[in-house]
Point group: C2
Amino acid sequence: MSNTPRLYIQEVSVRDGFQIEPQFVPTEHKVALINALSRTGLSKIEVTSFTSPKAIPNLADAEAVMQQIDRVPGVTYAVLVPNVRGCERALSCGVDEINVFMSASRSHNMANLRMLPEQSLAQFESIVEHVDGRAFMNASLSTAFGCPFEGEVAAEHVLDLIEKFVAMGMQGVSLCDTTGMANPRQVEELCAEALRRWPHIAFTAHFHNTRGMGLANVLAALRAGVRHFDASLGGLGGCPFAPGASGNVCTEDMVHMLHAMGYETGVDLPLLLQAAQTLPDIVGHDIPGQVVKAGPWTRRYPLPDSARAALEATQDSV
Amino acid sequence: MSNTPRLYIQEVSVRDGFQIEPQFVPTEHKVALINALSRTGLSKIEVTSFTSPKAIPNLADAEAVMQQIDRVPGVTYAVLVPNVRGCERALSCGVDEINVFMSASRSHNMANLRMLPEQSLAQFESIVEHVDGRAFMNASLSTAFGCPFEGEVAAEHVLDLIEKFVAMGMQGVSLCDTTGMANPRQVEELCAEALRRWPHIAFTAHFHNTRGMGLANVLAALRAGVRHFDASLGGLGGCPFAPGASGNVCTEDMVHMLHAMGYETGVDLPLLLQAAQTLPDIVGHDIPGQVVKAGPWTRRYPLPDSARAALEATQDSV
């Protein structure tokens, strides 16, 4: 189609999803899943987080995972990094991208990172300096569309923070709806303004489906001009404040919708669905993804015999 | 907001949902739920179907339900009607709206209704004639965005059928994505064209969330200019071809999204959520709705004590 730009699908399940699973996922399962995902045509995989093993025991095997996975050409292997120490660990594994993170709201930044936003920004500067061009630098902004403690987060405040990221040399910025508070109107307005002000920055939309609005928000970001989308295989991940609610936007459901709309993502949907089908065994529970259960929209069902016979009879009589 | 037209929310759970529940929902529970729903500000409630009790045993109490419910002024009480006999039963109960239904695809019409589309159209004409202005006439077109047996359904074919509905005197037309095959691009294109051709017809968008695209499709229909939306409390309903998949678009999740975007629906969301919370007891199983689990986006959580203390300490030191 003429008006269908290439989109970039970025997988976060092995970091954002596995991080909050009740059980540690063994390193070999992580590696096998990442290798399977690397062959589906995804643009980027957020492999792990180089944080303290005490803070996130589920990702204590960060080096082992990074070193054991196959690095498929064309796939960006990104990692989350909380500080310069984590950054050194990540660089020693030859990561393609360093993703730093902070919250747009003070209280969420303090609750999640034990730092004031000013301290996070200073941390970001040290990391950019330390990396010094050896990896792509991306800044992820949590609670960019609302904070579970404070409520609304002003768009101007988010834009001010993006300005600071850009000034310190960030090449990509992820706008994250950490707890599923964003709505499509807000998403379209904020994303359109960010893209207007910084057309050279790679903006990523990162949504959670906590309140069912995940794919509607993807659609809104797409209309605003966003081309990079985070999602999580099977819809893994979640929000600690909403037990029972859905997690991240589901990668295969998102790719399915985008393909049905005629967009190119470079992703092989059947391969992606195969990978998603292995997830319940890996994590030990059902996953929220819908297309794995229903099949893609191209799935056909056999016509019941009685209806077939009735139709054939009418054709005979014509 | 300036660009926020009033939207009309039409509840189908007590017909579309209860019809396929494994257990018959007792008449008094149906009546109590409809009475609760009538007080939430919904525009329309599809109360039941005046079909043969043998075909749909779950709705065998159609007359009893229609006669026992409170009729709240301002709420349209609609019923499904398959033929003139059903129409007579419906009119004897003083319904506000008669909703007739057929499929856009031959095979689905035959499998679902045991008729050819031509026969359904003839049936529609007899019903319109019989009603003769005594109730609002709406035609529902199933498989308008795709057929589980045949696959794609051409937009031109759908538009030809709408033309026939309009010519015979239908006042409203529902475009139904019966098995969750529609995608947002297709929805926006078809709905925009239908509204352009017949601006005086009340078009309803009726989506299923089978493949997770329900609310994204609502957003697309909204952009095309559709103002009437069917949805089902709790996301009840479903697709017999996709076991385990989600059902209709969930009313409270849809209203929640529309309100978050600033649209007016006339619906009291807290009252609607209260009604949704009674559903699991009525049907005996969990419901797919997300907002009942996560709470609305306006929900606030207490800041953890340690984060509060840390924030207060930094404020003291300023």
